[in-house]
Amino acid sequence: EPEVTQTPSHQVTQMGQEVILRCVPISNHLYFYWYRQILGQKVEFLVSFYNNEISEKSEIFDDQFSVERPDGSNFTLKIRSTKLEDSAMYFCASSEFINIQYFGAGTRLSVL
């Protein structure tokens, strides 16, 4: 069964460093998303991406964040200068249409 894959599973970084989280969405999907989940809290929407541009973004998705689809298969989330409060699980998701989203297993980001 097709699945969304995310790498790495765990990323440790120093405060102020840049990180890139990578995702390979399901191949025939057209919509891509990033969400985050701070430990013990709910899953929060960050951004959606369609047709090579951002469709929507939340208040969390400020200028420190960017997304890119550098080739036909990868979808990346970049955090330019990480802060302690960026520590969270980051989930990538994809969907064929705007309804059911399929999530990856997540990348745990630890900012020290």
């Binding site: 969304v4 969400y35 899953v43 929407f45 469709s55 939340s58 989203q101 399929y102 297993a105 997540g106």
Partner: protein, 109 residues
């Protein structure tokens, strides 16, 4: 807040019992979805119910939706230890899914 809110926050039952989780939301919706999250893992889609539907079944899952009360419930019948997970309701807001805080279900054998 426009977020969905589930209750109870935590539920512990024995294998074979039924588990009911409730969700309330505060805005008009096109559909409501339920997802499961095993500890430390991603979210798995369980079921989607459209705003013009009142009840939907999928295997041991039964979902109801009451748009007049802005609430939904997820019933898991004949629960198994493998059902132990967190369960979230989510509604579509544009392209985004807005998730509730979830119900943590523990099923003991």
């Amino acid at each position: 807040s426009q977020q969905g809110e589930e209750d109870p926050q935590a539920l512990s039952i024995q294998e074979g019992e039924n588990a009911t989780m409730n969700c309330s939301y505060k805005t008009s919706i096109n559909n409501l979805q339920w997802y499961r999250q095993n500890s430390g893992r991603g979210l798995v889609h369980l079921i989607l119910i459209r705003s013009n539907e009142r009840e939907k079944h999928s295997g041991r899952l039964r979902v109801t939706l009451d748009t007049s009360k802005k609430s939904s419930s997820l019933l898991i019948t004949a629960s198994r230890a493998a059902d132990t997970a967190s369960y979230f309701c989510a509604y579509q807001a544009g392209t985004a899914l807005i998730f509730g805080k979830g119900t943590t279900l523990s099923v003991s054998s």
